[in-house]
C-alpha cells in the first residue's frame, strides 16, 4: 500500500492547501519514481541518474528561489515538506536535492553576479546541470576555517590549488562551488567541469548513502576567471549555505523516520509470534509509542522552524537544534525499527537498514551532532567551546 504519512497531531491543519498539494505531489513522485529503483541503486552503489531530469521537471531544485531564474518561487514550508518526502524515499536522493538547491543554487543566487545567475540557475533548476559544494577537506571537517585550499591572483582571475573531500555529487557535477582562502580569507569560486587541473574522483566502498555519489575534488593550478568569483568574503559565506541545507535535513530526517516507523507498525501488526501479532506485546508497543512521540515532536519543530524561516526570524542556532535532534531521533528510530523487524530488518525488502545506514552519515555531515551540541552550548552560555 502507498505510504500514508504520519500525522498524529493533525499538523496538516497547519498547512495551506497548496502546501498539502506539494506534499502529495512529491509523495506520489517518491512512490512511483524513487521506491521502484532505490534498492537496486543502493545495493549497486550508484545514483539513479534518471531521477535528475525527473526531479528537475517536478521542480524540487531551487524551490525557494525566484521564478525569473526558472526556479520555484515557493516558501520554505514547501521546501521542507519536499525534503521530508524525498528522504522518506532515501537520504541519498534528498542529499542530491539539498546540495543542488541549498549548497549550489542558493550561493549562486545570493552571491553570484547576474551573469552567473542567468548562466547556471535555469539549468540547475531543470536538472540539466548538476552542482556540488566543496568546503570540507581531508584534514579539515568540523573546523573549516583551517582549510588549506587556496587561491592566488593571476591576470584575469585566480589560480586554485588544494583538495576537498566528502563532496556529494562531486564526480557528477558540471559546476562546483568551492571555498578557498585568498589573502587569508575564505572566498567562493565556481569551478566548472573540464577546467584544466580539476578532477573529481569518486570515493568508493561506502557502507552508507550508497545511492549517492561522494567524491574528492582536486585542484592543481586551476585557472578561475574573475567572473566565477562569488561576491562574499569570510566563513559566513559557506555557513549561510549550510544553514539552508541543514534546514532541509531537519525535515528530511523526519521523513526517514516516518518510513521506518510505518514499516514497523505494519510489521508489528502482521508478524505473528506466540499466537498473536508482536504489536500486541507491551515491549513492542512501547517502542512504537516512543517512535510516534519523537516523530510528532520533530514535525512540530520543523513546522515552527519553517514559519520562522519564512518570517525571516530564524537563527542558525535554531536550525542546529532541529538538525541535531531530528537526525538523532531518526537514527534511533531506525535502529529500534530494526529490532522490531527482527532478522527481516536487515533485508532489502524492508527500508530499515538502508535508512539506518544512511542516517549514520547524516548524523555527522553538515555539522556533526556534537558540533551542533556545541553551537547550542555557545548559544546558551555565550561561551564557545570549540574556539581554542
Amino acid at each position: 500500500m502507498a505510504f500514508q504519512g504520519v500525522d498524529f497531531y493533525n499538523i496538516d491543519d497547519l498547512l495551506s492547501e497548496d502546501e498539502k498539494m506539494v506534499r502529495q505531489t512529491v509523495r506520489d513522485f517518491v512512490e512511483n519514481e524513487i521506491m521502484p529503483v532505490i534498492e537496486d541503486a543502493y545495493q549497486g552503489a550508484y545514483f539513479p541518474m534518471d531521477l535528475v531530469g525527473k526531479m528537475g521537471e517536478l521542480g524540487v531544485f531551487g524551490m525557494t528561489l525566484p521564478t525569473e531564474y526558472g526556479c520555484g518561487g515557493m516558501n520554505n514550508m514547501c521546501y521542507g515538506i519536499a525534503m521530508q518526502e524525498l528522504e522518506r524515499g532515501d537520504s541519498g536522493v534528498r542529499s542530491f536535492a539539498s546540495v543542488q538547491s541549498s549548497l549550489v543554487m542558493y550561493p549562486i543566487y545570493t552571491y553570484g553576479s547576474e551573469d552567473i545567475r542567468n548562466k547556471w540557475l535555469p539549468r540547475l533548476a531543470k536538472g540539466e546541470a548538476i552542482g556540488c559544494f566543496g568546503l570540507t577537506e581531508p584534514d579539515h571537517g568540523s573546523n573549516p576555517a583551517g582549510m588549506l585550499t587556496n587561491a592566488k591572483k593571476i591576470d584575469g582571475g585566480f589560480l586554485l590549488n588544494g583538495a576537498k573531500m566528502w563532496i556529494t555529487n562531486g564526480s557528477l557535477a558540471d559546476v562546483a562551488v568551492v571555498w578557498a582562502k585568498y589573502e587569508g580569507e575564505v572566498h567562493g569560486f565556481l569551478v566548472e567541469k573540464g577546467m584544466k587541473g580539476f578532477s573529481a574522483p569518486e570515493m568508493k566502498n561506502k557502507h552508507s548513502l550508497r545511492a549517492s555519489v561522494t567524491s574528492e575534488l582536486i585542484f592543481q593550478d586551476v585557472e578561475i576567471p574573475e567572473a566565477n568569483v562569488l561576491n562574499i568574503k569570510g566563513l559566513k559565506g559557506p555557513l549561510s549555505c549550510l544553514t539552508q541545507a541543514r534546514y532541509g535535513i531537519s525535515w528530511g530526517a523526519i521523513g526517514s523516520a516516518m518510513a521506518t516507523y510505518e514499516s514497523s507498525v505494519n510489521y508489528a501488526k502482521s508478524r505473528i509470534q506466540f499466537g498473536k501479532p508482536i504489536g500486541g506485546f507491551q515491549l513492542v508497543q512501547e517502542k512504537l509509542a516512543w517512535m510516534l512521540t519523537e516523530i510528532t515532536k520533530g514535525q512540530l519543530v520543523n513546522w515552527r522552524l519553517a514559519k520562522m524561516k519564512d518570517d525571516k526570524t530564524m537563527r542558525p542556532a535554531q536550525v542546529s537544534l532541529a538538525k541535531r535532534n531530528n537526525v538523532a531521533v531518526a537514527l534511533d528510530i531506525a535502529r529500534v525499527a530494526r529490532d522490531i523487524h527482527g532478522a527481516n530488518g536487515i533485508l532489502s525488502e524492508y527500508p530499515i537498514m538502508r535508512h539506518a545506514n544512511n542516517l549514520e552519515s547524516v548524523k555527522t555531515y553538515e555539522g556533526t551532532h556534537d558540533i551542533h551540541t556545541l553551537v547550542l552550548g555557545a548559544e546558551i552560555t555565550g561561551i564557545q567551546a570549540f574556539n581554542g
Binding site: 500514508q4 505531489t25 513522485f29 521537471e57 517536478l58 524540487v60 524551490m63 521564478t67 515557493m74 514547501c78
Partner: protein, 248 residues
Amino acid sequence: MNILVCISQVPDTTAKIVINSAGNAVDPAGIKFILNPYDEYAIEEGLRLREKFTGTVTAVTVGGDSAKEILRTALAMGVDKAVIIKNAEKSDSFSVAKNIADYATTLNPDVILLGRQSIDYDSFQMSGTLGELMNMASVSMVSKLEITGTDVAMERDIEGGKESVQTSLPCVIGVQKGINEPRYPKLPDIMKAKSKPIEEFSPSSQETRVQTITMDIPASKRVGKILGDTDADIAEFVRLLHEDAKAF
C-alpha cells in the same frame, strides 16, 4: 480543439468509510477526498490533445466548496479553465450529468473526456447519460485514442480482450487506466494554480431520478496478502503457510 474534462471528488481509497446517521450516504467527516483516479487519466488525455492540436482544456466538477481542491489539482496539471457547478444538495448520476450537459451546451466542446467511473459509487452512468443528453456518441473504457480531423479511432477494453471502434467528433469518451501516464503537477504550477480563478455556476437543475434508500458497509472479510514472485517472496509464502495459516 475545445476540450471539456469532467472530474469528480471521491474519498481516498484508504479512507475509513462511515455511513451517516440516516443510513443512506457516506459521512464525509474526517475523510480525505481526492481527485477520482480515472479522471486523472482524462485530464492527462485532454492536455495531450491540446498539446497536439492546440486549444483549450476546461475542467468541470459538480459539488460543494471542497470540490475546488480537485480543480486546483487540474489547474496545477495544466488545464486552462476550471469550473464548479455548486450543488450541495444530494444528487444522483442523472442530476450531475444534466448539470454538466447544460454547462457543456454553452461551451460547445469538440470532445468531452471523463474517467470510466467514479471510484466512490461506481455507477458507470456518466459517459452514457452525458452522451444521450448532449446527443453525442459516447464510448467508455477507452484505453487508446487517436483523433485525425474529426475521425476518432479508439481501442476499448472488453472482457478478455480489446475492441477497436470509431466515431466522429464531437463525442464523449470515458477513459480507462492505461490510456496514458498522468503527469505530476510541477511544484511551481501548484503555486500558480492558487491564483487562477475558478468559475462558479449555480445548478441548472435539481432533478434526480434515483433515490438511495439505504447504504451498508460490507461485512469484513479476512484480509488477503499479495506477495511478489522473488525467491524471498516464495520463502515468505512458505513461512506464512507454516506460521500464519498453520496449513502444515
